[in-house]
């Protein structure tokens, strides 16, 4: 009887000791690992909302728009710029002005001035790629003015201009045939891939408001050309898949018809005698939003077919105009046709797809547009 009780108490002591030992070890490990680590509230962290990339006097100038949490729940922005001849060096330089510890991961946009884009974006892309903390879904754009000016611009009721621009680019996909391929991740995937190139929205400050005025075409990592918004619309129709926008046929200043459509794109490629033949099939599917031209389009099948033929011929004409400009003027394969050709005829063969596709003697591009109207609204006035 006594023996049993003694055994039990010994057992209890043993398990108690084990638990105490484990708790002690955990405590020691906690102190060991925790040395040198601070906790900070978010107001004391420097969280950038947008990062700019500039080139000034042969040195990289990287302004960052940092949230400032003021009194009364008001959030404003401070701009801190670091200048140095290497991009990592700008971090050091910026910290000399900065009163906080900056933490990447929440930036909404990374914009580049046209000057730096023409110089080459590979520098900031490579440093951003190395950092695992960067936000891969940040939106990228090219601006006409210096990014410092853009980020500093005070948009009323918005904590920073970067938030405004980020939403602007995100919602640009509603019209103008813009796609959602302007994220940082998309740059990583397109920059040095064979047969692909980067195009980014081009933003300007016009009359005190931000505006997307076109697109910037890149060859590898350098910006080659800025195209205006009409050309960008056609380029996006030819380049992207499942994008939305408005096309219109006009007879006179009062008589026109507008068509809001989603595109579908299919590219086929053939090679005969060393010359490449591309066929781009574009399917337009949409609704008529505005009709002052074909009054009986709903009742008359022939009118509908007339509209469809006119619209497809009109889009084909615009496409051929653009392709001509691309081959004579831009000298960049901005329709990503090289990618289709590489997939069919072999990769890493040493071929420069930009050269081949923009050479009229080596490539022939055919465009076929198919128009389909599925909705016409609730009536016709």
């Amino acid at each position: 009887m006594n023996n049993k009780r003694m055994n039990n108490s010994l057992k209890n002591k043993f398990t108690n000791k084990k638990y105490i030992l484990i708790i002690l070890i955990i405590f020691i490990l906690f102190v060991y690992f925790h040395s040198g680590i601070d906790y900070l509230p978010v107001e004391e962290l420097g969280i950038p909302s947008g990062i700019g990339n500039d080139l000034s006097d042969d040195e990289f100038s990287i302004p960052m728009a940092i949230y400032n949490y003021g009194s009364d729940k008001k959030i404003t922005t401070f701009i801190y710029t670091g200048v140095s001849d290497t991009i990592a060096g700008t971090r050091q330089n910026r910290q000399l002005l900065f009163n906080k510890n900056f933490r990447l991961g929440h930036e909404r946009i990374i914009i580049s001035s046209e000057k730096l884009a023409r110089f080459g974006i590979i520098n900031w892309v490579s440093i951003v790629f190395k950092n695992p903390n960067i936000n891969d879904t940040a939106l990228i754009a090219v601006t006409k003015e210096e990014t410092k000016e853009i980020l500093n611009y005070n948009v009323p009721e918005y904590p920073s201009a970067a938030d405004y621009i980020a939403q602007m680019i995100k919602n640009s996909t509603e019209f103008n045939f813009f796609s959602d391929n302007y994220k940082l991740m998309d740059i990583f995937v397109r920059l040095y891939a064979e047969g692909r190139n980067i195009v980014l929205p081009y933003i300007e400050l016009e009359n005190g408001k931000f505006k997307i005025t076109g697109m910037a075409l890149f060859k590898k990592d350098k910006m080659m050309k800025k195209i205006d918004i009409n050309d960008s619309r056609i380029m996006n129709i030819l380049r992207e898949n499942k994008v939305k926008g408005i096309l219109a046929l006009k007879e006179s200043s009062k008589k026109y018809i507008s068509y809001y459509t989603i595109t579908k794109r299919n590219v086929k490629c053939e090679r005969k005698n060393g010359k490449y033949y591309f066929t781009i099939d574009i399917g337009l599917n949409g609704e008529i939003v505005e009709n002052n031209m074909f009054k009986d389009i709903r009742r008359n099948k022939e009118t509908m077919q007339r509209f469809e033929t006119y619209m497809s011929k009109y889009v084909e004409k615009m496409c051929y105009n653009f392709i001509r400009k691309m081959q004579n003027d831009y000298k960049v394969d901005c329709l990503e046709l090289g990618r289709v050709a590489a997939a069919k005829f072999g990769r890493h063969t040493g071929v420069d797809w930009d050269e081949i596709i923009t050479d009229r003697n080596k490539t022939e591009i055919k465009v076929k547009v198919n128009v389909n109207v599925k909705k016409m609204g609730r009536g016709n006035y």
Partner: protein
């Protein structure tokens, strides 16, 4: 009988224990190494390379059928003699020790970059190896349960990578079948580091509750692991394309960044969190195997061996963090270990086959003698 069932591995646990020897941090880099050789047909190399695990598993299940109560260490001593058998066992053990250290060093590298950049390598190593030690200390049954649970988590995570299908393009995989045969063969050679691990079935098949299901269980393991590997290569090429894969050190992780969920900024954080569990599991498995072989050869109690090897496994991974040293040793050791494994298993199986045929013949002779 009930005690046995509690202490021995169930069939499911054997399957997941085997995948727990093969699905580790190496396969985050699998697309990198294979695409370097085979280009966009790397997934073909991945499929053909599965011949190696399949062969090992089939021959091992034959050996297991013939000698269901022993393991490869006692068998090699029996068929090759004591001295030669022990030498072969030592070489067998060396590969487990090597892989434990390289897996732990890969653990440190991945965590250092993606999760805990503020910790020094030795601290990360201590955490990982201590967890592995604790799991290995508890024995094989516990390892089986851990492997089962964590393999379900792994499969769940892999299913999420299907979301990358939306952003990739079939064009990235074309032109198909256009790489030279020699490149595909080189690609198969580079899959060897990821595909090793199935030899461990030779060590543990005697601890399975139902010996007749070993073949089915291990084939299921090859199927699960194989489909995950080929899927990894396929989806990474589909999403990134062969030009971009070499630019990331761990290209499969980039696939997870394509997933957009409203609350989480970057789905990669969830994946890395689950990945820590996955790496600790495979580390514990290899730790236990190294201790198991030493225990079999020297007779020291396995728990004490685990504790004795602890400092070694703290020192080696830190040493292997040096990329150049790691590459040199792995390039030297992995092909040789693979060939060693294949030869050892084939020789063992052949000798068992010959002996059993001789035994049958002598049995028939005996019977005819008796009936006369």
């Amino acid at each position: 009988m009930n005690n046995d069932k509690k202490n021995l591995l169930s069939t499911n646990q054997l399957t997941f224990l085997l995948t727990g020897f093969t699905l580790g941090p190496g396969f985050l880099r699998l697309p990198n190494v294979v695409v370097k050789e085979a280009g966009q047909d790397a997934w073909i190399s991945g499929i053909v390379g599965l011949i190696y695990p399949l062969y090992i598993v089939l021959v091992s299940s034959y050996i297991a059928k013939k000698h269901s109560k022993e393991n490869v260490l006692t068998l090699s001593r029996r068929y090759f003699g004591n001295i030669v058998g022990n030498i072969l066992n030592i070489i067998f053990m060396l590969q487990f020790v090597l892989y434990t250290s390289t897996i732990a060093s890969e653990f440190i590298r991945i965590l250092e970059v993606y999760i805990v950049a503020f910790l020094t390598p030795i601290k990360i190593c201590i955490v990982g190896v201590t967890l592995a030690l604790y799991a290995a200390y508890k024995g094989l049954k516990v390892l089986g349960k851990i492997s089962e649970l964590i393999s379900y988590i792994l499969i769940f995570i892999i299913i999420f990578s299907v979301a990358a299908c939306k952003y990739g393009d079939m064009l990235n995989l074309q032109p198909v079948f256009s790489t030279r045969i020699i490149d595909i063969l080189n690609g198969i050679k580079s899959t060897c580091y990821c595909y090793t691990g199935f030899e461990s079935v030779l060590l543990f098949y005697s601890s399975v509750y139902d010996v007749s299901t070993i073949k089915k269980a291990s084939l299921k393991a090859v199927l699960i692991a194989g489909s995950i590997w080929v899927w990894t290569i396929f989806i990474t090429i589909y999403y990134l394309g062969i030009d971009i894969i070499p630019k990331s050190y761990w290209s499969f992780i980039m696939v997870f960044e394509s997933i957009h969920i409203p609350v989480i900024n970057n789905f990669r954080y969830v994946v890395m969190f689950a990945w820590i569990l996955i790496i600790v599991r495979i580390l514990a498995n290899y730790y236990f195997s190294s201790a198991f072989i030493i225990n079999d050869m020297t007779g020291i109690d396995i728990k004490q061996v685990c504790l004795i090897m602890y400092p070694l496994f703290l020192y080696l991974p830190i040493k292997f963090k040096d990329n150049i040293l790691r590459e040199k040793i792995l390039n030297f050791a992995v092909p040789r270990f693979v060939i060693f494994n294949i030869l050892l298993i084939t020789l063992l199986a052949l000798m068992i086959f010959i002996k059993s045929k001789a035994y049958q013949k002598s049995n028939i002779n005996q019977k005819t003698l008796n009936t006369e």
